[in-house]
């Protein structure tokens, strides 16, 4: 069965979209990640215009993270002040990002830019995760205790002004680093069609040194509002949100995520991280191939964007 997508202006196979949503949902449930970094590439590779893939995926991430964020809030795992600071930066970054997407589309450079972003970020994150999970596995096999969080250490962040007391996180630090992290994550969310958890979570753990349980809840909280805002911005500025496509992906995604979460309970954390790292690297390599392989046709055509 085919469905005509009103904004992408193309006919798409419903079964394929549901299966894609389901598979990515399963993996995001399994690894406890948002899945944007898998879904957006899959959409792009299956022929959806990159800008529409990015805009639409924001809406899907909102749907897939809202129930998790609500559950974390009920368990009191959300640091609202931290979330608000991150979100303020995030929305600022998203506004810039959405404008940048519009300009790059008019110049015909968006497809290249989004691929380059994926290669860079997935390459770096995937490599770091791979090294970390391998060394943890080796240590665990050698019978050594796996090191926990080093708390109480001070770093350069503590020398910055505008200090705020973040009660839930048990931190008294400057608002500038979380605000800057927020801006960066907002930019990535708007350009790459991701939630940004893969940047935010490590930044909160290693840079801000927040407790891990609070990190997960707070990042989910910020992702819901950030992706919601990004969706509205993409829709109003670039008209690149396809609601039919979004709904199809949501349906597949939420079902897949339930099964993924069940399967994830049976795997060890470092094994999960290893598999996730492999997946991240694979997507990065696929984009790298697109950038370096000679294209089948040097020419491409499109309708002008934004009345250019």
């Amino acid at each position: 069965m085919h469905f005509y997508l009103p904004v992408a202006e193309m006919s798409a196979n419903v079964a394929v979209l549901l299966a894609m949503g389901g598979a990515v949902g399963f993996l995001s449930g399994l690894f406890g990640v948002g899945g944007g970094f898998l879904m957006t590439p899959l959409l792009i590779f299956s022929g959806i215009p990159p800008a529409v893939a990015v805009g639409t995926e924001s809406a899907q991430i909102t749907a897939s993270s809202v129930s998790g964020a609500f559950a974390q809030w009920r368990r009191r795992n959300v640091d609202f002040l931290m979330g608000a600071v991150l979100l303020a930066g995030g929305i600022l970054g998203s506004v810039f990002g959405v404008q940048l997407v519009g300009s790059l589309r008019r110049l015909g450079q968006f497809d290249f830019f989004v691929a380059a972003c994926y290669v860079t970020f997935l390459g770096v994150i995937g490599t770091l995760m791979m090294i970390e999970s391998l060394s943890t596995m080796r240590k665990a096999r050698g019978g050594l205790a796996v090191g926990g969080r080093r708390s109480g250490q001070h770093n350069w962040i503590h020398g910055l002004p505008l200090k705020l007391r973040f009660h839930r996180s048990k931190l008294y630090i400057s608002a500038i680093p979380p605000f800057l992290i927020g801006i960066f994550v907002g930019l990535l969310a708007a350009i790459m069609g991701v939630g940004g958890g893969f940047i935010m979570v490590p930044a909160m753990i290693y840079l801000l040194r927040m407790p891990t349980n609070i990190v997960v809840g707070t990042s989910l909280f910020q992702i819901v509002f950030l992706t919601a805002a990004t969706t509205v911005l993409h829709a109003s500025q670039n008209q690149t949100v396809d609601v039919v496509l979004a709904v199809l992906l949501m349906v597949g995604g939420v079902i897949g995520a339930q099964f993924g979460a069940l399967a994830g309970e049976r795997l060890k954390a470092e094994q999960l991280r290893f598999l996730l790292a492999a997946l991240v690297l694979m997507v990065g390599l696929r984009f790298a191939w697109q950038l370096i392989a000679p294209p089948a046709d040097l020419y491409s055509i499109s309708s002008p964007v934004g009345g250019a």
Partner: protein, 301 residues
């Protein structure tokens, strides 16, 4: 090493996804290829009309052509996946003895709304392929199909093709003013050729030399495909009747492709009230998220 079934399943799924990524890489262009519908069997030949034509027939009178399309208004709804249009017509005062005699030649041109198209060319910059040059053209038909009884250069003169804009090389689209001054004539020619080639690949520019067939001595028909990626709007269908390169008669029919139902509503909403549309999408997303979590929580208990 794998102890539980779930682990095996996970590895399997990852392998499938890996294979999927590779397969997608290989079949990206193939996916765009469309399945061709089987050739239509002669159905509902307009008998009454044929008989009427026969009655009106007078020896020695000048021939004229009339035509129509199977659907003058085509609705683009959620299930739209391209459509095949039948164009049929009749020659008044037909002089040909039978359908097979080849006395007349028919040429049909279907043209969609003209619009602006940007063509871009990739270049290798430091090992990476990125768009480095572009050209904007105006009055590029969104769709352009030629169907004829025989190859067009056998049934028409070069002057006719040039003056009526028949054939890909006679399409009248022009470089947009102020967009392409930096490009040489040779570059512009290449961009123009690229637009035609890519439109052909997308199934939007079609030339089929033997698509029109006479069914009787005066009746003829042809089928043309409007693919799923076609731009909505009015389409002009021009039918020309020839005998030995001489234009005897011509006839124009319009057909219209329009969004309808939910499709029309959503498209208007998305482009007319984009902010409200964005808010609606977010509301749906939040509702879907909560709905799913309550549904699965109940199922788990």
């Amino acid at each position: 090493m794998l102890r539980s079934g779930a682990r095996g399943a996970t590895a399997g799924l990852l392998a499938t996804l890996a294979a999927g990524f590779l397969a997608l890489a290989a079949t990206e262009t193939q996916a765009q290829r469309r399945q061709k519908a089987p050739p239509p069997v002669a159905r509902e030949a307009p008998h009454t009309r044929a008989e009427e034509v026969k009655r009106l027939q007078q020896p020695g009178a000048r021939e004229s052509v009339q035509a129509d399309v199977s659907a003058r208004n085509v609705a683009v709804t959620s299930s739209f996946n391209g459509i095949e249009i039948v164009i049929f017509g009749a020659v008044d005062n037909s002089q040909q003895p039978s359908a097979e005699s080849g006395y007349y030649d028919v040429l049909i041109v279907v043209e969609g709304v003209p619009g602006r198209i940007v063509a871009r060319r990739k270049n290798n910059v430091a090992g990476l392929w990125l768009n480095t040059a572009s050209a904007t053209f105006d009055l590029v038909p969104s769709y352009y199909a030629i169907a004829s009884t025989r190859p067009i250069d056998e049934i028409t003169t070069e002057e006719f093709r040039a003056s009526h804009g028949v054939g890909f090389q006679h399409l009248r689209f022009t470089p947009a003013f102020g967009q392409t001054q930096a490009l040489s004539t040779e570059d512009l020619k290449q961009f123009r050729e690229a637009i035609i080639r890519l439109k052909e690949k997308q199934g939007l520019y079609i030339q089929d030399n033997f698509r029109v067939a006479f069914i009787g001595k005066s009746l003829f028909r042809a089928t043309i495909e409007l693919p799923a990626n076609v731009t909505v709007g009015p389409f002009e269908t021009r039918v020309y009747l020839f005998h030995q390169e001489n234009l005897l008669s011509q006839y124009t029919v319009r057909l219209n492709l329009e969004r309808e139902g939910v499709e029309r509503y959503l498209h208007r909403f998305a482009f007319g009230y984009p902010t409200l549309y964005g808010l609606m999408t977010v509301t749906i997303a939040v509702a879907a998220g909560f709905l799913a979590s309550t549904m699965f929580r109940k199922a788990a208990h």
